[in-house]
Symmetry: D3
Subunit: 253 residues, 6 copies
């Protein structure tokens, strides 16, 4: 299968120009191979994912998180961020990432999260920041009991535990903002909402919210919902595709 057709399809869905300036989306490892036989999708391209790719005879890994963030000038096995890249090169596997462009795009992760929550009137988090298209805001069909909402959310995101703050002691919520992954930097600028769903919220971030519930549903849990979407996106092509076995690094005791 021609590689460029696959990449074209993905980049039409998640246009690279939507990526944030600091981001490193796109090719992580490109070896000059212009065809592809089997693709594995993963949220994060760890060494374990490269091993799954090898075991499954994949020659392309498509991940959400870029393998590489910081620039480097030595390709060394002692830089653990590069180990998956070295192993991939040795096994002739190429790696491509769609990160903040996949978060932002229409039908991308933020949209998908809003949709699985059955929000209505879904809009981009406008006027908040340059990166506001990473998030969405919408409304539940009708006001819902907070505890019930959390219970449903755990089912939707397939997770056991969810952390929340509730500084204004809300019992009902209706208008909800979402930023999949790590959206704590949005908190100071949000207003006129009942709840904010994201992951990776730290103590000082949490204290900033005064008027709405902050729901930390997990970085991994709020993002992995996109992988089936990507798989579906490429289903029309004559190329084998599958989603990696991946789980959150965290357990809660």
């Amino acid at each position: 299968m021609n590689l460029s057709i696959i990449i074209e399809k993905i980049e039409k869905f998640a246009p690279p120009e939507l990526a944030s300036e600091w981001d490193n989306s796109g090719w992580q490892v490109f070896l000059g191979n212009n065809s592809v036989n089997k693709i594995i999708f993963a949220l994060t391209c760890t060494l374990d994912i490269v091993e799954q790719a090898i075991k499954n005879d994949c020659d392309l890994i498509i991940s959400h998180h870029p393998l590489i963030f910081d620039k480097f000038n030595k390709i060394s096995a002692e830089n653990s961020a590069l180990m998956p890249a070295i192993k991939a090169i040795q096994n002739n596997i190429q790696i491509y990432s769609a990160h903040t462009n996949l978060d932002s795009t229409q039908g991308g992760i933020a949209d998908k999260l809003a949709k699985v929550l059955c929000l209505k009137n879904i809009k981009i988090l406008e006027q908040i920041s340059e990166e506001a298209n990473l998030g969405r805001v919408g409304e539940l069909e009708e006001e819902k009991d907070l505890n019930l909402f959390i219970k449903n959310l755990k089912e939707i995101l397939k997770t056991d535990k969810i952390k929340l703050t509730n500084p204004s002691n809300k019992t009902k919520i209706k208008k909800i903002a979402v930023v999949p992954g790590c959206g704590a930097s949005f908190i100071p600028k949000l207003k006129d909402i009942d709840a904010f769903i994201t992951g990776d919220v730290k103590y000082h971030n949490a204290l900033v919210a005064k008027d709405f519930v902050v729901i930390d549903a997990g970085h991994f849990e709020t993002e992995r919902i996109i992988l089936p979407v990507l798989k579906e996106l490429l289903s029309e092509f004559n190329v084998e595709v599958f989603v990696a076995e991946e789980k959150s690094p965290w357990e809660v005791l």
Copy 2:
């Protein structure tokens, strides 16, 4: 009671020169009052803490976290970080913070955390970074079952839930590093330990650890153990002191 004697005592215990360069320890609100009648201790000086101070006739708040991090040039009620300061000024209450110096100092938060865990051979996390004296490393008297250790830890820190990663599937631990508060930036540089205890660990930080257990026991929970130490420190003086009623912003459902 003469204010300068109080501050001198605290600064002898947690010398300001130990504070990190980016930190803003020391006076947050100083109104020129040189005496003190009643002191309230808190981890974080929120509006609620100022209200507790007012209700209890305190004229000095001593907090761990500085009220103010970012510099500003307008004193506005619309900057929510300044609301506690405005309320304090209106009620003639002064605010003092000991932050990274209190983390680092001998007998400070990091030491206290190591001690409540009954670690032996407690040492500063040397060679790791310029801020390594924010952390400690030590050993349990004898190797301990991981699950049992977590169970005890929850009792010690008075918390219900603790998150952990266990990438190398350890069942026993002995050598433990601790950084109270938010210590995720230490992860890439740690080695030769069985477990690392801190708070506020994000998804990508967690994935970096390969050979040891990362235990996220909570920013609030790993730090509040210092407040009784401060209260004790000033017990010799003729001034009323008490610890604020404070709880973590998070609940886990």
Copy 3:
């Protein structure tokens, strides 16, 4: 009286977007109070002005010069620039400043200075710099004897002494540029004028002028002419207003 109507009126007259980028116009101290009873106007909000406000039961100070220029992260009585702010907060007084926007605006300080000099064909000092709308240039009805002009100027600005340089030994002047306050940075770029009126001109600034008279009429004296304009501006409202008693810090012996 509703505070927002007052501020709206002032900001319509001196739009905040006219302020220079380095400036800190707008709210200096805002305590969340949305009504106002009595207003005091001053060029510079010193501790003495706050005391006049207290004595006169004012709850709003409107000053030309911002209280605060440099950003800070400690509210301390030891920072003398913050003393008026602390005293104002303790007495529930809010402080608002209109600085370079008030200099620049149509009918603002520069225009007012040009008008009290009876200049004709008053124009903005165009093409000189990005901040040129801080100044005006115009012409006397007819050429005037320099000494006579200075004599009149002293009457208009109510001052005893005026400093001037006259490198080209002019005896008559007609075309005059004005920058109220501190306009020395304009000198190297001025041309085709007979005289330049401003304040705070230093020795090396003065030496740069070759072809025109530089008249240092005082920072305070060239700006205080605006206070009656502000008082008049708010006369339509049901709020007490008055101009503070203020004088130049300088005497000449």
Copy 4:
């Protein structure tokens, strides 16, 4: 006369390494001529001073203020700061400046100013700033009436008018700090003095002083006292020397 002997004498008196980092002391125009016949001293090397040098057959100008502050990459008659340099080169005249090193050195301008005021216990303005050796502090033999002191100061500095602020209404002064030229940046850091004498003090600088008299005696007037010192310094050599005719650019009407 050998030029290097002259420069060596001056640099022994005012060592170049005392100059501030931002300063441009030393050769302003050096044409490779190693002998000197006649020297003219001036505070500021204007075009008029170069013309005096030409008329008097001088081949070396020694000025206090550097001709050139801002770096340039075009030698153009349209840059008025370079006109004196061009005229000097065309007339084979070299120009040397001793600026902040001459201010600071033992026996230099600051010392000379302290001495003409008959101060005792003259010390460097220590602990104030990195540039504190630009200033001196000392005491009058006995407390003196302020008005009388100003009257004497005008005689000593040969000036008609002197500006002062007196925020604490002192009538007597004894301990005095001096910074010749432009010393306003010292004001916020001065304490435990009765008066501060300098030049070029602007309105906002003046307002900062709370506890002492600020005397603006003129940039030119507080510095020109050094020229006879320089003349005397070179009197031992077989070279003609004289002080230029120079006056302040300001007149006060």
Copy 5:
């Protein structure tokens, strides 16, 4: 002859706004003289060129390379880059340079080089960089033997030796890019050409080219072809003009 007419003619041919941002084209030494009698053209205004100007009674030097690149704040004979300027000022000679604007302009150095090579379809090196109009690309009438081309090139540029790399072992060339002077920074971005002609190519630059011949024909040799063009340009005016005697600093043994 009126100087401004001469400069206007040159700046119409090589508009200053075409110059690169880092460049220092235009007046190098301007003494305020507005007439001109005799002009000398040179590639580089060395001390030798100023001496030729003096010997030939020239009052204007027009050079390609600016005399001055780095900014300075001392005019000293010890800065060898300034020696030609000092000598020129002493002899009342003005110096003007047209550098990257002369490279880029239509009919300028790059165009002239393309023309002397008899290239067809000459185009600007578009899409390569912001400075691409410093170069041209075109085609020989028909494919030519490389060795023969080099032989002709030596005749055209009047040089004995030419260096080249030929990594892909081409024997015939047709499509050629040229950047007169120092164009090595273009190499990584060139493609779809047979050869690149420029000067001053360093070892690491040379290794970057993979698919085309790099011909280092000399910085001096690829630029001096413009001097007759400049002479011709001014032939219509009533002013004596001539080209300096200049040769490459290099000999090859």
Copy 6:
């Protein structure tokens, strides 16, 4: 053969701490393999050198020039600087470079160049710059005819053509400075020498030298003399070593 013994030997000879701050010496590609069977030495690790390594079953390339200068965050075959790295990784070959440390060290490239020229009293180019230990200065046994010296130099460096400038028309030389590779930045600071030997000298660099001969003997030619030294250095170990077939990219027609 244990890899660390080899690297230790090289780093004892060319200590990494001698490398310039901007340099990227050390591991270019390290795959975690701790043994070595066969080593190839090269000046520059091009794709051709990696292919020689593959053909000769080498598993370690030791080059003088680092493969990678600019930092990157994508490992892409479209970045031609990374192609040799990708090919090396795919063939399990590691790459190590000793660059400016090998230039500077005692017995390194600069010393070797001085020695093959039979210079006496060889010293480091002191007082010139922070990087002066990249160069050496010494004297020929006796003054030598310049042409004869060049003839010998061509034999020593095995090159046909050498470029030189001779601005002061020297015919004899004795004191010689050398900087192997690219040493043009030293030219403005050199004095009291008869000749300077280096490579990659550009036109404007060449014009700066006034009093000495500048000999551009080639970047490649002045450096390749070190490869036999490296081979000899490792001869004591039980590992196969050989020098790659490498030639200058340039031919001179």
